[in-house]
C-alpha cells in the first residue's frame, strides 16, 4: 500500500481520452464520429466511479477504449502509474477486466460454463494442473453464486441473471484490480438487477476491486458508486461524489437527468418540476460548436457556442463543465 501512495493515489488515471470512429460518408470520404472526445477521470483502488449518460453518448466506447479493444485516437491512460500502451496491454489484462452489457451475446454459445470461465486462466496459464484449473473455476462459480454442478452446462441454458454472473466470474478469473462494468444489469429484470448489484458490492468488499460502473439508470449508479461522472455526447459534463451530485446537481444536463428519476412520494413529486429537454440529441457526426449540450440547454448563451467549457471545481471534488451555472 505504501508504495501505491508514493506512485499515485489513483489506480486509474485517464487523461483526455479520445476515440473517433471513421464513418464512411461518401464513396471516398470518411468523417470522424467523435464517440469519446476528451474524457478525463481518476479512480482510487477499491473505489467505484459511476458513469451515466443517455444511450449513444459513448459510455461503452470509453470502457472498450481503456481496454484497447478499440485503438484509442488520443489521450493517456495510466494504470497504477504505468502508461497503458499497445505493448503492455496484454500483461495488464490480468489486472483489468470487463463485464459486458449484453449477457446473451457476450458468452460463446458453443462453450461450457467451465470453458468460458477458464478461458482467461488458459490464456495466462494461471494453473498448475487440470485439477487446479477445475478447483479455481469451482471457487469462482461459488463466489458469484452459481451452482458448481452446472459447470458443464452451455450458456444458453442459463437465465439472464445467471449469464451475467458467468460473465463476472470470467472477469474475476485473473484476479483483477479494476473491472469495467458496462451496464451489467440493464438487460435484467428489476428484481434480478438488485441481486446482481448486491453481488457486485459483496465482491468489491471481499476483493477490494475498483469499478468503473457504467449505467444509464441514475438510481442504480447512485446506489453502487462512490463518485459519479455524467457524460453527454462524448464529453464529461459533471463529476462529483454520489451524494453531492444528487443533492446539489449543477450542470443543466445533470439536473434534467435527476428530474427524470421517478419519485416515490407523490407529495414531493408534485412539488418538484420535471425538466423536459427540448429537441433531440445531436448526431455525434454533426456536433454543435462549443458546448455539445447548448442546443437543448435553457441557460445557453452566446459564449456556449464559442467554446467548450472546461471542467472546473465548484468546491472540493465537484467538477462541472458549464459557463452559466
Amino acid at each position: 500500500m505504501a508504495e501505491d501512495i508514493k506512485k499515485s493515489e489513483y489506480l486509474v488515471e485517464v487523461k483526455n481520452l479520445k476515440e473517433y470512429f471513421p464513418v464512411k460518408t461518401g464513396f471516398f470520404k470518411t468523417t470522424p464520429l467523435k464517440a469519446v472526445d476528451g474524457v478525463s477521470f481518476n479512480i482510487k483502488p477499491g473505489e467505484t466511479l459511476g458513469l451515466v449518460g443517455e444511450s449513444g453518448c459513448g459510455k461503452t466506447t470509453v470502457g472498450r477504449t481503456l481496454l484497447h479493444l478499440y485503438k484509442p485516437t488520443g489521450g493517456e491512460f495510466y494504470f497504477d502509474g504505468e502508461l497503458v500502451t499497445e505493448k503492455n496491454i496484454h500483461q495488464l489484462r490480468k489486472q483489468m477486466q470487463m463485464v459486458f452489457q449484453d449477457p446473451y451475446s457476450s458468452l460463446d454459445p458453443r462453450m461450457t460454463v467451465e470453458d468460458i470461465i477458464g478461458e482467461p486462466l488458459d490464456v495466462f496459464k494461471l494453473y498448475d494442473s487440470k485439477g487446479d484449473r477445475h478447483d479455481k473455476i469451482m471457487d469462482l462459480m461459488q463466489l458469484v453464486g452459481l451452482n458448481a454442478e452446472h459447470a458443464t452446462r452451455y450458456a444458453h441454458e442459463f437465465s439472464g441473471g445467471q449469464r451475467q454472473r458467468i460473465g463476472i466470474a470470467r472477469a474475476l478469473a485473473v484476479n483483477p484490480r479494476f473491472i469495467i462494468c458496462d451496464e451489467p444489469v440493464s438487460a435484467l429484470d428489476v428484481s434480478i438487477q438488485a441481486q446482481v448489484i448486491n453481488m457486485f458490492e459483496e465482491i468489491q468488499e471481499k476483493l477490494g476491486i475498483a469499478y468503473l460502473f457504467i449505467a444509464h439508470d441514475l438510481l442504480v449508479v447512485h446506489h453502487i458508486s462512490n463518485r459519479i461522472a455524467v457524460m453527454y455526447l462524448g464529453k464529461l459534463v459533471e463529476i462529483a461524489d454520489a451524494d453531492e451530485l444528487n443533492n446539489n446537481p449543477i450542470h443543466p444536463y445533470t439536473l434534467s437527468l435527476l428530474s427524470a428519476v421517478p419519485i416515490p412520494d407523490p407529495e414531493t413529486a408534485r412539488k418538484s418540476q420535471r425538466i423536459i429537454l427540448e429537441g433531440d440529441v445531436p448526431s455525434p457526426m454533426h456536433m454543435p460548436s462549443g458546448c455539445p449540450f447548448r442546443t437543448r440547454c435553457r441557460y445557453a448563451t452566446e459564449q456556449c457556442a464559442q467554446a467548450m467549457p472546461e471542467l472546473t471545481s465548484r468546491g472540493g471534488d465537484h467538477m462541472v463543465a458549464c459557463f452559466n451555472r
Binding site: F100, L107, L219, V261
Partner: protein, 355 residues
C-alpha cells in the same frame, strides 16, 4: 429526494420488498434444477432423428449405399463385359427385359440344370448386364457428388474465412471477384471448362487418379472451381456476424490471441453452417454430373454414369422404357434423399430457427 431511503432500497420505486417472502431452501433448490443438459450437437442430432422425412431419406440412402457396395461382389457380371455363355459372347442377349434370359442362357440352364444369375434390370443394347451398370453409375455419381462438395467445402471455407476475418479492403476485393464468378452463367462455364479439361488434361499416368478417368477428375475440378463461390459467400457472411458478437470482444479482453479466437470461437460457431452447406452441395453436384454426362461431357466410356445411361436409353425409349426408368429413378432417389437430409440438417442445426 430521500436519498437515504434510496440507498437502502435502491429499487423500492419499482418493487415493494414488503410484498415478497423469502424463498425457502426447497424452493431455491427447485430453481437450481435445470433441463437435461445437451450439447449443441446432441440437440441437433436428436432433432434430426425426430424428423420422419430425414430418417426415411437416411434409410433409403443407406440401402442404396449397401447395394452399391455389395452388388459388385454378388453379381457375376461386370459393367463393361458383354454377357458370355460358355465362353462365347452372346450376341442375342441385347436389350433383354428385366429378369429375362436370352435363348443361349436358357439352353445352357437346361443342359446343365443350373441357374444363371438373373439380369435384374435386363441388358443394354450391347448385351451388358444393366443392373450392374446402374450400380456403377450410381457409384460414380455418388463419388463425384461427395468429392466435388468436399472441394467446394475446402476452397469456399478457406476463401470465405480469409475474406470475412480480414475485412476491410481485402474483403472488398475478394468479394468482388466472387460477385463476378457468381454472375457468370454457370452451366455455360461448366460446359466450356468440361470441354477444355477433356482435351487438355491427361491424368491417365497418375496412379489412382488416372483410374478414375480424365473426365471424372476434370469434373471435380469444374465443380471445385465453380461452386465454391456460394460457400465462400455464406461462410464470409457467417464470420462477419460472428465477429460482431460480444464474446469475441470478451475473448480479446481476456487476452486471447487471434489464432485462439478463430480456432475456438469462430470456427465452432460457423461449423454447423458449413456442414449444412456441404450436405446441400452434394445433390447439386450429383445433379450437375448427371446433366453433364447426359449431354456427353461426363465420365469416360465404358465407365457408366447415371446421366450417360439415361442418355443412351433415350434412343430406344419407346421399345425399352425401363432402361430410362432405372437410372432416372436412381438419380431421383439419391438426389432427393440428400436434399431431404440437407434440409433436415439445416432445420435441426440452424441456431436461427431455434426457439
Amino acid at each position: 429526494m430521500d436519498m437515504q431511503n434510496l440507498k437502502k432500497n435502491p429499487f423500492s420505486l419499482q418493487i415493494d420488498p414488503a410484498k415478497f417472502e423469502k424463498a425457502t431452501d426447497d424452493e431455491k433448490r427447485q430453481q437450481d434444477v435445470m433441463a437435461e443438459s445437451t450439447t449443441f450437437f446432441k440437440d441437433g442430432m436428436r432433432r434430426l432423428f425426430h424428423n420422419p422425412l430425414a430418417v426415411m431419406a437416411m434409410i433409403i440412402l443407406a440401402i442404396l449405399i449397401v447395394v452399391m457396395i455389395v452388388a459388385p461382389m454378388v453379381v457375376p457380371y461386370s459393367y463393361e463385359e458383354i454377357i458370355t455363355v460358355e465362353g462365347v459372347r452372346d450376341k442375342a442377349a441385347t436389350n433383354l427385359a428385366p429378369f429375362e434370359f436370352s435363348q443361349r442362357e436358357q439352353a445352357f440352364m437346361e443342359k446343365y440344370n443350373v441357374s444363371v444369375f438373373p439380369h435384374i434390370m435386363g441388358t443394354d443394347e450391347l448385351g451388358r448386364d444393366y443392373f450392374i451398370r446402374v450400380v456403377y453409375g450410381a457409384r460414380v455419381s455418388l463419388i463425384v457428388g461427395v468429392f466435388a462438395s468436399l472441394m467446394v467445402l475446402l476452397i469456399g471455407t478457406l476463401y470465405g474465412a480469409v475474406s470475412g476475418y480480414a475485412g476491410g479492403k481485402t474483403d472488398m476485393i475478394m468479394m468482388r471477384i466472387v460477385d463476378i464468378l457468381y454472375s457468370l452463367p454457370d452451366i455455360l462455364i461448366v460446359i466450356l471448362l468440361a470441354v477444355v479439361f477433356k482435351q487438355t488434361l491427361d491424368f491417365s499416368n497418375i496412379p489412382i487418379i488416372g483410374k478414375l478417368g480424365t473426365n471424372m477428375v476434370s469434373m471435380f475440378l469444374v465443380f471445385g472451381l465453380l461452386y465454391w463461390v456460394g460457400m465462400a459467400r455464406i461462410v464470409r457472411g457467417e464470420i462477419l456476424t460472428i465477429k460482431e458478437n460480444e464474446y469475441i470482444l470478451a475473448a480479446k479482453s481476456v487476452g486471447a490471441s487471434p489464432a485462439h479466437i478463430v480456432w475456438s470461437h469462430i470456427i465452432p460457431n460457423c461449423l454447423s453452417v458449413i456442414i449444412i452447406m456441404t450436405a446441400q452441395e452434394i445433390p447439386a453436384a450429383i445433379f450437375t454430373e448427371s446433366y453433364l454426362s447426359f449431354i456427353g461431357l461426363g465420365v469416360a466410356l465404358p465407365m457408366p454414369s447415371l446421366g450417360s445411361l439415361a442418355n443412351a436409353a433415350r434412343s430406344g425409349m419407346q421399345s425399352y422404357p425401363w432402361k430410362l426408368v432405372f437410372p432416372a429413378v436412381a438419380i431421383i432417389l439419391i438426389v432427393l434423399s440428400f436434399n431431404l437430409i440437407g434440409d433436415a440438417m439445416r432445420d435441426a442445426f440452424d441456431p436461427k430457427l431455434k426457439k
